[in-house]
Amino acid sequence: MSKELSILAHSVVRNSSISINGEKDFTSSEQDFKTFIKEAYRNYDLKYPKFFKMDSLCKLAVIGAEIAIENSDLAEISNDRIGIVLMNRASSLETDREHQHSIDDRENYFPSPSTFVYTLANIMAGEIAIRHEFQGENMCFVLSEFDIDLMQQYVSNLFESGKIDACLCGWVDFDDSNYESVQYIVGENSSKNITFDVCTTKEIYNVK
């Protein structure tokens, strides 16, 4: 018997603006990502100095997750029952290029561990896990586009197999100054929430 699953809250970060549950919540006139995301950090008052050590992909993921989580009531759920399932297109290529640049020239050779650690797509899940102490299932997919059907199948399976009681799901992509984060919390049904299905997720993703 499958459980009734809902989307408890969702956040969208793109084009220097942030929406919560479909409503615009923060907009910046700043087009540069690094400046915009710093403004967003201040706006949401994260008080999390580790944020400034992160690469752009992780900053994007952490801000998008923060807002979705803040707007979901997860207090009753044990941290080891909250999963994180993320997808993107460019993996960690933005930081990969930076690390590659540091080793391209033997005369100017400066590989750095603080850059190299961010050359994995799933570090964004790790950063979110540390910030919110989520210890449940982990998965990071790299795909040509946000595959809502795959997300639905994979996350539904995790719930059906009894491994999780809630899940942070999302598409978080950063590539060559283009960026996009759509994250949502899936949990068990409560009347005020919207149903977790492919159609609803598409609506959330497609809102401009």
Binding site: A129, L150, Y154, E160
Partner: protein, 380 residues
């Protein structure tokens, strides 16, 4: 419903181009790790497990349009093709899915020193996946799992879920990573690479050895003569540190508990633990705590890293494949590089090759980002 059988497998590493070549060397406890003095990979000499290039040149000669594929893609094609020679699977079916497991894919394409003719867009992991699945005329969008060093175990767990829920009849899970300059320079900057061949769980261990490998398993809802099932899986996050393991082993222990519960086995009935065992001081310490907590400290355990190094995105798959041969042959392979126990809580590290019953296996992996994963394999 639990019918996810492993019906075909392949391993490509320094030890050979198919599984039987690997098994032959595992029985003799013969490692493929050698000194490497290739300044295009790293300015100073280091140890590595590398695939024989001249043999690859020979093996790849009958791949159609071979020049349209990168080295890693050629390895995937050879690996999948070897599996197809063992089992009749319709790759052109909508009910067959390709799942790729990799950390860095065609990362060599990013280098300004890259001299091949492949378009840089194939550094995107999904582009690499598409090139290979299209070569095999598979109509389904391929899935790439890129979750650090647990990618292979996660990919196999996902394949199991998708077969058991009836979404696919067959899933080809293929994992690979190269010993690329990118990766070696990065782990060197972390001071994570040992000057000697890695020594998992040993008192004198001081770091990893990088290896390159490609490995494939085909999971099917039909047994096709196989009696090995992927019975259960689980994953977790330590939520502790992005580049260091948990101090307590809690994350790994939780992933194992979920895999054991889903696999419907008793911890005491596990015959063999194929652990991650990277041979860094902290990883192996963490594993010793997690395994004692779980209660598998007396069960024979090894790390395969002493044979072919840490093969990153291929690691979970090649080590699952090696474990299935342990099960089919009822034999336990020595934990290569291990001499004297050097972990805070004791483990039963396999010190010599031996014949023994192997019906239930626990396979684990842990990686950067604080992630852990486990799989339970069961012989019917």
């Amino acid at each position: 419903m639990n019918t996810a059988y492993i019906i075909a497998d392949n391993m490509i590493s320094s030890l050979g181009f198919n599984s039987s070549e690997h098994v032959e060397k595992l029985r003799k406890s013969q490692s493929g790790i050698l000194p490497c003095n290739n300044s295009s990979l790293y300015p100073t000499p280091f140890q590595a497990s590398l695939i024989d290039v001249s043999r690859l040149d020979h093996m790849k000669s009958d791949i159609e349009f071979v020049d349209k594929f990168t080295k890693l893609e050629q390895l995937h094609i050879l690996s999948v093709r070897d599996c197809l020679s063992q089992a009749n699977v319709d790759l052109s079916s909508e009910k067959t899915l390709f799942v790729f497991s990799t950390t860095k894919g065609n990362i060599d394409l990013l280098s300004k020193n890259y001299v091949g003719g492949i378009d840089a867009k194939r550094a995107y992991l999904h582009e690499m996946a598409k090139a290979i699945s299209e070569y095999f005329n598979n109509p389904v969008n391929p899935v790439v799992v890129s979750n650090a060093c647990i990618s292979g175990v996660l990919a196999v767990n996902m394949a199991r879920d998708f077969i058991n829920s009836g979404i696919y009849d067959n899933v080809v899970v293929t994992g690979g990573d190269l010993a690329a300059e990118f990766t070696i320079s990065g782990f060197q900057s972390f001071k994570a690479i040992s000057e000697n061949p890695c020594k998992p769980y040993d008192a004198s261990r001081d770091g990893i050895t990088i290896g390159e490998a490609c490995s494939t398993v085909i999971l099917s809802k039909n047994a096709n003569g196989s009696n090995i099932l992927v019975a259960g899986g689980g994953s977790s996050n330590d939520a502790n540190h992005i580049s260091g393991p948990s101090r307590t082993g809690d994350g790994l222990m939780m992933a194992c508990e979920k895999a054991v519960a889903e696999g419907m086995v008793e911890v005491s009935n596990i015959d063999f633990v194929s652990a991650h065992g990277t041979a860094t001081v902290y990883n192996d310490e963490m594993e010793s705590k997690a395994f004692n907590w779980l209660g598998v400290q007396n069960i024979p355990l090894n790390s395969f890293k002493g044979y072919w190094g840490h093969t990153l995105g291929a690691a979970g798959i090649i080590e699952i494949v090696a474990s299935t041969h342990s099960m089919r042959n009822n034999e336990l392979y020595k934990s290569a590089g291990f001499e004297q126990i050097g972990i805070p809580e004791s483990l039963n590290v396999i010190s010599a090759y031996k014949k023994d019953k192997v019906d239930i296996v626990l396979k684990t992996a842990s990686g950067f980002g604080g992630c852990n994963a486990a799989t339970v394999l069961v012989k019917e």
